[in-house]
């Protein structure tokens, strides 16, 4: 068994026979059709990328909105209870409640 198939032809291809397959108009038409398809596919790809990025951006924005109030509350309360002057401020507010009989806020200001 050979590696390739070799055929010996008696005659050359007739140029007239070849001319039957030569059709530049057809080739040009196919080229325009292919170009149009390529353009459509490229445009669709760009649109899909933009839509994907937009969705991703909206998801991130939504997630941040949900997460932000918790983060804000957490940071306020933790800063209050961890600050060095926290104990004296708390005492002062307690004093204020005793003296004014008003409602003391955690920041030390009393509401009467």
């Amino acid at each position: 068994m050979g590696r390739n198939e070799i055929r010996l032809r008696k005659q050359r291809l007739n140029p007239r026979r070849i001319a039957r397959y030569r059709n530049y108009t057809k080739l040009l038409r196919q080229h325009h059709r292919d170009s149009r398809w390529r353009l459509v596919i490229r445009t669709l790809t760009y649109i899909l990328i933009v839509v994907f990025l937009l969705i991703f951006f909206l998801i991130v924005l939504n997630w941040q909105k949900k997460r932000n109030p918790d983060i804000a509350n957490d940071s306020v309360s933790s800063s209050l209870y961890r600050s060095p002057g926290n104990s004296s401020r708390m005492e002062a507010s307690n004093q204020g409640v005793k003296n004014n009989r008003g409602i003391a806020s955690p920041t030390g200001f009393s509401l009467t």
Binding site: L8, Q11, Y21, R22, L28, D34
Partner: protein
Amino acid sequence: MLSEDDIRKEYAILERSGKNAQAFGELYERYFDRIFNFIYRQTDDEDLTADLCSQTFLNALKNANRFEFRGVPVSAWFYRIASNEVNKHYRKLKKEKVFSIEEVLVKELIEISNDNLPTGQAGWSEELALKLVEYMKELPTDMLEVLQLRFFEDKDFKEIAYILSISESGAKMRTYRALDRLRKNFNISIKYDGKK
């Protein structure tokens, strides 16, 4: 052989084709027959050749902007695309490659060295042709490709190297090896660059 100036002119046509596909028509008309014959020698099927040939020119037109001038004629680029299309076809079908060679061309190529033949024996015979075919079956595909381009398509080594994406010395080496084998096996001398 095309002169450097002619090659540049063809290159200019190809550059224009990138913007205006109509300009490509000139190159298409000029090289269609040669590319068709080149593909037909590797398929032996007219309809398949027509398909692969139109795919070759379609690819060339699509990539006209990407062609880089490397001192070889534009036709070498067409041959390269055609060769890739043919190889792709055979890879897809997982079939062995067909080489369909015109007997007339082989006769032209090989001149029997009368000194090596017994007296009275005719130079070219059917028997020799069959032996040659049997022998060529055993040659590796890359050697046959080089032989086809060198002797049936009349390409120089620079073009062969470009078409097959190999080095020029590689193309020469493959050709010489194939020819040496032919000489040894058949006691024939081969027309080769004017030397026998």
